[in-house]
């Protein structure tokens, strides 16, 4: 992970320079990452206008805190998307009551859940790998992961939506991420 090259290394370099106040470098960071931040925000919020606001907030927050980014602790992409996911989830929770989000989640179940996953996928190699790995999870692992990550549900809400014990949901999430990690690392 520490030996990055090509676009990845460029993103790390730009983010580090942005952290030192380089506005041109920040423009580069914006161009690399704002489309994925926007994609994630659209997915979670399901409202382009709110997603645009979140994207703007996230990019400004990146500018403000870029100096905290430590390359040894992960890629620029992971750092940016961690921040973006948090913002989008906070926003959706503030905007929609838990019941509403759970209800929406329920309409995606039981048959629709995998479509949610399929919907993620566009036909690029990188994304096919994610899809393949998500598909390799058992349904009982995949569904809680998808509901939490893409719908902004807490694990308690996931448990409620699935009528599953909360402890079980928590441990399935861990099993899911471990399996996903193994699959993605094997595919490199």
């Amino acid at each position: 992970m520490l030996h990055r090259s090509g676009p990845e290394a460029r993103a790390e370099d730009l983010l580090a320079r942005a952290g030192r106040g380089d506005k041109d470098a920040f423009a580069g960071v914006f161009d690399i990452f704002s489309p994925v931040v926007m994609g994630l925000a659209c997915r979670i919020l399901r409202d382009p206008a709110q997603a645009e606001e979140v994207t703007q907030d996230v990019m400004i927050e990146i500018w403000r805190t870029a100096d905290r980014y430590v390359p040894e602790r992960g890629s620029a992409k992971a750092w940016v998307l961690t921040l973006a996911h948090r913002r989008a989830v906070d926003r959706v929770r503030a905007a929609q009551a838990g019941m509403e989000r759970e209800q929406r989640a329920r309409t995606l179940l039981p048959e629709g859940a995998f479509d949610v996953v399929a919907e993620v996928v566009e036909h690029h190699d990188e994304q096919r790998r994610v899809y393949r790995c998500l598909a390799s999870l058992s349904r009982s692992q995949r569904v809680p992961l998808v509901l939490a990550y893409y719908q902004g549900l807490t694990y308690l809400e996931v448990a409620h939506a699935l009528s599953a014990p909360v402890g079980t949901v928590k441990s399935r999430m861990r099993a899911a991420l471990r399996q996903l990690r193994a699959c993605m690392e094997a595919g490199r």
């Binding site: 952290g19 506005k23 920040f26 423009a27 914006f30 704002s34 489309p35 994925v36 926007m38 994609g39 994630l40 382009p48 645009e52 606001e53 994207t55 703007q56 907030d57 990019m59 400004i60 500018w63 403000r64 805190t65 870029a66 100096d67 905290r68 602790r73 992960g74 890629s75 992409k77 992971a78 750092w79 998307l81 961690t82 996911h85 948090r86 913002r87 989830v89 906070d90 929770r93 503030a94 993620v120 990188e126 994304q127 994610v130 899809y131 998500l134 992961l145 939490a148 990550y149 807490t154 694990y155 909360v166 402890g167 928590k170 441990s171 999430m173 861990r174 899911a176 991420l177 990690r181």
Partner: protein, 245 residues
């Protein structure tokens, strides 16, 4: 040890931002002393980033223009650089503070940003000046409760039942009229209201540790009162923030 007792168990829910605030703060406390979890989280974040990166969406040009313009007015934080080997970070503090900030700032758009940043700076100063506040923010049972006030302002009350304390913070409170102040109240199921401290116009953006014991208060209220404060509210509350789960 059952799965539910295992503190490492929450790791995935944490990475997915799927823990409720109190459990998130508790996990952060665990994380501060657990190198196993710290390493796994780094790896999980990379995996999860791939889930996000699987879909992008075009960003309108005006968002780019506004953002690049906005940053020219926005001060950058310089990262505190603790020694890499230091094991005594206090992420829970940062986290709990950011929960409150996030609750307050949800929906903040760029043009409000300077004000928001100002509020956060003051919050940081207030944290620095008050050990009690710091202790509260790192309490393992900390919960955060938010509500909209009548005038469009947003309020968050951070509570630790274990410590019997609560902190009030608001975003967008208008300056009170000359000779007036905001007053906070603890509300009880009996209908009793106990004064819980004043919030002056100047300090209305800073967090306030509520005065007096929390006891079994079920809500925190805020009213406008004469500058010296009142023993009982003399005006209609701007808001009541329930603080029970």
């Amino acid at each position: 040890m059952t799965a539910e007792d295992d503190p490492h168990e929450a790791i995935a829910a944490y990475v997915l931002n799927a823990l409720p605030p109190a459990e998130e703060a508790a996990f952060e406390n665990h994380l501060a002393g657990c190198s196993t979890c710290t390493e796994e989280i780094t790896a999980f974040r990379e995996v999860v980033a791939e889930l996000a990166a699987a879909q992008s969406a075009p960003v309108p040009q005006h968002i780019r223009t506004t953002t690049l313009k906005a940053i020219t007015h926005i001060h950058q934080e310089s990262a505190p650089r603790p020694p890499r080997t230091a094991g005594r970070r206090r992420p829970a503090l940062v986290l709990a503070a950011s929960i409150t900030a996030a609750a307050l700032l949800a929906g903040t758009t760029a043009w409000q940003y300077t004000e928001a940043e100002h509020a956060r700076t003051q919050a940081a100063q207030a944290r620095g000046s008050s050990q009690a506040l710091t202790d509260l923010l790192v309490a393992p049972d900390v919960t955060v409760h938010t509500a909209k006030l009548t005038d469009g302002a947003r309020a968050a009350v951070t509570v630790s039942r274990g410590q019997g304390k609560a902190v009030f913070a608001a975003q967008g409170l208008p300056a009170p009229d000359e000779g007036k102040t905001y007053e906070l109240w603890y509300a009880f199921t009996t209908g009793d209201l106990h004064p819980a401290g004043l919030v002056s116009g100047d300090a209305r953006h800073a967090p306030h540790l509520l005065k007096g014991p929390l006891n079994k208060a079920v809500a925190v209220g805020i009213t406008l009162e004469p500058a010296s404060g009142s023993k009982q509210p003399t005006s209609k509350p701007l808001g009541i923030i329930p603080i029970t789960l």
